[in-house]
Amino acid sequence: MRTFTILLQKEFRESWRSFKFLWMPLLFIFLGISDPLTNYYMEDILNAVGNLPEGFSVTLPEYAPIDILKASTGQFQSLGLIVLVITVAGMINRERQSGTATLIYVRPISFMALFMSKWTAASALGMISAILGYAGSLYYTSILYGSVKFIVFMEMVMSYCVWILFASAVALMFSAMFKTALATACTIIALPVAIMIESLIGQYWHISPWKLADYSVQLIAETNNEYYLKTLLLTIILTVLAIILGILFTRKNAAATKI
């Protein structure tokens, strides 16, 4: 337990020094507030840059708060997620390649503490960013489109945090398995690309972790989704599985560190 606390402190210090705790939340806040704003000013934007012919008129839909939160989630799931997983996918293997890991591995530490400390730091980073991003989105949504019940909003954010825990566990698992380039590629295929595939052909199945974010937003509408709990459960099981695999591979690949 003591090694875990010390390693966790090291992780947080490192993330802080590389400004991760500054720019990641700022990016998510930016993504969160850009959607309510662009939709609100869509008419002005079209008039200013659209180069529309004389007399052309567009009827823009009336957005409900849930549509805007859905759009913000879409932003988090594409650009936000890509940036998050690229960062996380380099956490273990970059240390191995730079030789920093050697200094840690020569000491009698448990690889479980090592992996868990990194996972905790990565998830904390992702969750803080997502919570702040959603807070920004909700703030603008409630000003411009109408309010959302706070309880269901909290449910949605919590549920999205479970997805962040899953995403960082998967990214970290690949980071323990492969070198930086391959790990990044695998992670991007396993998370953002899988979400795209899911949105193309996902109507044939109902329970998959990649649907969790969509289901989370549906919580706002307070409709009963019979698949939600099963999806949540499956996501948690897969997260635990990814962590176990990650710890095993951290131990197996410890010899790969550069001296």
Partner: protein, 63 residues
Amino acid sequence: MAAINWALIAPLLVIQAILLIVALIDLIRIHATNGPKWVWAIVIILVNIIGPIVYFIFGRKTS
């Protein structure tokens, strides 16, 4: 065109400004980057939002 409510837009501009300034200060103080420093300076200044973030992910050399 309707008058733009600057109070609404301001946070977006503030976020962009913070990212730009922090990235530039870090670029000046860091001893070496992946690739030439002046290229990163151009990327940070010219590419909106994504520029500073790409610098933070790929530009910083940690050793």
